[in-house]
Point group: D2
Chain length 345, copies 4
């Protein structure tokens, strides 16, 4: 089959590779219909993830049809149309018993990372019963593929951890795809203010269309003042960090109200300064999280009942054999204005 | 009357000062029976608290008898024996309505800080109805005075924020009075392990007597390894920081299990390094809190039902007119082995 | 002044009575601008409430202007425009300290019940600081008066207690004003299904306009079957009882999913059958609650940020001196299709 | 092998039956070392459970050694010593994903009920990975077998659902084995009062030894008055129903404080009267639950760290081939004072 293969930092190609095969009785092989590219795929391509060796097929998002299943897959059948979760989990280990599927001792986010992924014609999915979700025939696959990773990530790490609530004031730092996913899912809880902060006016315009009540371009270094003014000097109840660098995390520290929460989504490569000399008596909470995909069933229900429109995130579409162009488009988002790019088989 | 007065960094004296008088109809004047000294009194004496000007009577802990009350105090009477909370609160403002009494816009921890305190013959208590707790005649005043500040601080900032739970693994970094208060109140929730970490073997011995299941002297810089070993390599579910310097906070970061909580109690004077490059995907939580004294009624019940023995914290006793000696003893805890020193009228 | 006075079962009149005066330093006198009538006013008129004696001025909802204040009211001023909460609370007692303001030992729902109420030119409000909410000049008083009682009641007793959540299935039994208030506020949490059940097709039509995803007329006795069918045989996660008779409560028992919650809002006059022989192993929860008005600040924020439109509930308007006509209209809702009737000064 | 077989209402015998065999790749066969008898075994023997047909081997509690395992059991090995949970669960279905293992669509409490049980030389355990817990060599099997059912039942249905908390007032109605299990595990949370209510003075004496702070013999019909007096007229914060008849449930309604919780453990055969005419405005909660065994890992930790001594529940011991005598002893608890009887292989 054909697949997008990582060949070490900065190198990828559209290769002919062997088809995946069932390895364990809990596996399924899925024929990919729709996939997409994630910011973490770009991280891997830069060589940032030691867990992902050269030769790996990338991709951890997708929708497809079950092609074959292991003997111990009990809830799915060949021919079922399924959503692929970015998180595979055994359901048995210490962490799974605590619903921390991201830390499953034999799973977690392994797809397109520790094992071959979805940017291919076929993919092997471990723990198929818990990692695949049957979908209705006729369901919108493009909307569904947003539930593989980006929506649960924005929702669990940002909105749930940030305890967004009716009437609360929320700021989201970073208006890229994951920040926008947080913005979309924060609206499940009807906050009073949803302030979006970014350096890029185009992305802030998109945020407005997605439901931001205000936007702040932080280029001038005065974002904190602007947010404090918008919140009557009190700061926000929830600050969602969706970038992953010290400056954005520290901005969250500055705009947080007493009693507030910083919910970190960003992937950080270095330490940040935590100003406990200012924060020790402010009754604040800081959270981190790798998506557990524990909310996927709930997100499917909100999608089916039209409480959310994740297709808003889709800006471009490519056929699978043009995936290298898709990568180019996605990697140059500042110029292309790409958010999520759909890859169709 | 006589009172312990702060006269600027490093200076205190036992002065004759005017008696306090009622200023608002919600005030009460309390004649002090029993008081004690807190680590934050020492901070003030060092000049660390800009909120506390020279001329201030120190002290925010005490038990006494109501001497006079304002017209709008409705639940207390002259002659009532009362516990004084370190937190005064209006019960009406934005923060009080959220039970964040520490951030009351006209209260919080103001006693012996922004207004005169309890290390005197008499003290004025604002918002008497919510800041004083009637106690039974014959109740143990020495035990009760531990409920003015240190027990609610250890409990709310450490144990409640740290979500200590039956069967969980807990480490407390710092075996001084507030760390020991956390140790005592953590046992309300029957954790499996209560590991106490300090540099001082004497304090660790005390911790063992107070219920620590293990102790670690961190002098050798190998505390993190020791704790990881004790927890099967997984780390602790709750790490309570009860010192307030970067090294102890960063130790908490190192010993925390995936999914765990760092509950900060320590008063920090400088920033700390938050290693998000290691922690961003560990599903952790960090909390800070100034005591709200929201748990005082509950702590009174556990005291009355003998679920806790806070007198364990008391090492020395002085008459009120020897309070300067009490300060000397408390300030040189390494030599005197002082934990809490009782000041009796 | 003029006021609507209850004179015993079935008897009310528009009387000239003395103006209210300040009785305690925490009181305020409010000149009424806008009031409304509640279902519980009708209960009182039937003689159902032993706490409300003849001679009482009715009404516990209103918006007005502060005419005078007691010496100990610290957060409000004469001339302030205010929303009146149906719950008055001291903020000091055992129950207030637990945020159960409805059970305040000297407050709770006393207005227009144990003390004179708002269907008059002036009203005395106890505990003014915690029971009145300043509102912006130019704010929509008709919308605001819905926040005196009906919205917090539907929200706290129905939606909060019922833990309505994104993607969940909710049924509300009773499409009268309070059921509709639950319907409006349930949408803060984006449930997947909001099924409204009533005997009256007109009220069900209203419910559809207010956001119900489905309606069931229960006249045929087959409502339970209909709801089970709509929920794939599983039942609803939340059943909100908004009527107050055995038949509707028992319908909630029948349509509840394993793990679900019955949140009772209805005022019940007799016992109901709880079928524990069916429910003991179903992991269910049943809650009751008298509104605490603890959510009023939050509801004000959602109103100001246009997350809710409570004016949808208003069907009729009367001048204050035609309040007897307003009562007639409200009491014959089946014919007049009245939901909430506005009384304007 | 030999096994205790149910042969229809009132009939049981110690029969020779075929050994169990692996049926699914997720099964394990366990050789029983230690078992016990549960009150629900007696219910089955009376013919109360339609789910349990004649011919069934009874028993859902036990400790043993794995004799053989299916191909898809990944976390256990032949020869492992294991605790058997009364709940078997797939970990994949709608209810398992919500941690409601008791409602697993292909599991739940099926052992000794819908499939053959543990009162035999060998037993087949479905979903072995999630339903068996490896235990240390040398661990106390008699203590451990109390974790198969009775401790998680008392803890989850009574203590967790009842939100027992430090300083709270708790009453447990029914001082049989399950009520006593609730009593033991309630102490994890340091409540101020633990009032035990029963008709049998012997069982109340046992309760005192187990940590009850007070006992009430309800024979005289004045238990409610007694409890109200003990709680200053306010009632209890948590009432745990551990009997399962209308009189005891209705006693819980009478002794509940405003804001309190009735946590039902009892297996009810008929409806009860729920006095909503008294309770609709009392802000109460009622819960039911079939044990999910979700707390078993935590209970194992509290056992290993000596926070609980479940062997207190054991009153008698029998060899496996004398299990009919064990049943006699257990069934006549009033005379034999039996609580839990150990069956040893």
């Amino acid at each position: 089959m054909k697949a997008l293969v990582y060949h070490g930092p900065g190198q990828r190609s559209w290769d002919t590779v062997p088809n995946p095969t069932l390895q364990l009785p809990t596996d399924a092989i899925v024929k990919i219909d729709t996939a997409t590219i994630c910011g973490s795929d770009l991280h891997i391509l830069k060589g940032d993830l030691a867990t992902c060796p050269p030769g790996r097929i990338l991709g951890h998002e997708g929708v497809g049809i079950i092609d074959s299943i292991g003997d111990n897959v009990t809830t799915l059948h060949v021919g079922d149309r399924v959503l692929i979760s970015c998180v595979s989990f055994c359901g048995k280990c210490y962490y799974c018993r605590r619903n921390m599927y991201s830390h499953c001792t034999t799973g977690g986010w392994i797809l397109g990372n520790e094992i071959d992924g979805t940017q291919a014609e076929f993919v092997r999915i471990p723990y198929a019963d818990t990692s695949l979700y049957p979908i209705e025939k006729g369901a919108d696959e493009e909307a569904l593929v947003m539930l593989s990773d980006i929506l649960p990530t924005g929702f669990e790490c940002g909105v749930l951890n940030g305890r967004v609530a009716p009437g609360s004031n929320v700021a989201i730092v970073g208006s890229g795809p994951v920040g926008l996913a947080a913005l979309l899912t924060a609206q499940f809880y009807s906050p009073a203010q949803l302030i979006m902060i970014d350096l890029d006016d185009n992305r802030l315009d998109v945020a407005k269309k997605f439901g931001a009540t205000a936007t702040v371009n932080s280029t001038d270094g005065k974002a904190a003042e602007a947010v404090m003014k918008m919140t009557g000097g009190r700061g926000v109840d929830t600050a969602i960090e969706a970038v992953g660098v010290p400056a954005t995390f520290e901005l969250c520290e500055k705009i947080l109200a007493a009693g507030g929460i910083i919910a970190n989504i960003g992937v950080h490569g270095t330490k940040v300064d935590l100003h406990l000399e200012n924060l020790w008596d402010r009754n604040i909470t800081i959270t981190t999280r790798l998506v557990d995909a524990v909310s996927t069933p709930m997100l499917l229900k909100t999608l089916c009942s039209h409480k959310i429109d994740p297709k808003l995130l889709i800006t471009h579409r490519f056929k699978l054999d043009r995936i290298l162009d898709a990568y180019e488009t996605f990697a140059h988002a500042a110029e292309t204005h790409a958010l999520k790019v759909i890859i169709e088989a």
